[in-house]
Point group: C2
């Protein structure tokens, strides 16, 4: 066993070599809405990936900036080395980030967004913008909800 458990087989059910499952195993069989129902499962898988708690942050930090592993750890700060490794691997695997290893004495590895990753950037920022714009509104809604619940 040369591969770590968390990088192969153990986790990420929807991440396994799905190849191009022909959407037949897909559980979404409802009538087509605005998106094609079959596409939806794929979407969820991709979405699960990019929204897996760290990916978006990594992508955001990598915006037009090449960063080293250690820099990312320090920038994100809340992340552990393990999760950064896993996240980076997933993003690399999906072709969203590129990994460059410099064969120097103290290992130097740099990560950067690929063209594909850069296209995602705009979308994620839209999501971020929305969150920023509406966070107060949401906070108020929560308090209201809590109040209603507590008072009840």
């Amino acid at each position: 066993m040369t591969s770590p458990g968390y990088l192969e087989g153990t986790k990420h059910v929807g991440t396994e070599p799905v190849g191009r499952e022909d959407a037949e195993a897909c559980r979404f069989d409802r009538d087509p809405f605005q998106w094609d129902a079959r596409e939806d499962c794929q979407v969820r898988q991709i979405l699960d990936r990019i929204a897996d708690k760290w990916s978006l942050l990594v992508i955001a930090l990598l915006d037009e900036k090449t960063l080293r592993f250690g820099e990312l750890v320090r920038e994100i700060d809340g992340i552990s080395k393990r999760m950064l490794t896993v996240t980076l691997r997933n993003l690399e695997r999906d072709g969203l980030v590129g990994r460059t290893v410099y064969p120097v004495v103290p290992p130097r590895v740099e990560y950067e967004l690929t063209a594909l990753g850069r296209t995602l950037l705009g979308t994620t920022q839209a999501l971020v913008s929305w969150s920023e714009e509406h966070q107060e509104e949401i906070a108020r809604a929560r308090q209201k909800f809590e109040a209603t619940n507590t008072a009840g």
Copy 2:
């Protein structure tokens, strides 16, 4: 204890009555990038919510359509009643969906997007669109990655 464990206290760490934690307890202390660093934590919490595996689907299904609980269960199909309840509660709590109870003999409860929820719709669809447009590209990247890994 009148509240079920999964609706209060047991789960959703970032969901607890955060109120408006003044971003001081926030672990993002890095220099401001394109987003204000302090905002980022809030963003992550909101993002964790709307991307929690089911929320996006629910929001999408609720697009300009009022649906009943059972309808949602059947539409999403992969979801359990428990998770739909939890998801719906969270969305309601955040003011993204509205809940209407009709006091009739067979209980009838309808869910609909609020104005706030509707604003999110566009953003989520952008994400979905991106996923749709690039899913093949990603699939190819994965295969390539796998091949490189396997062949190595």
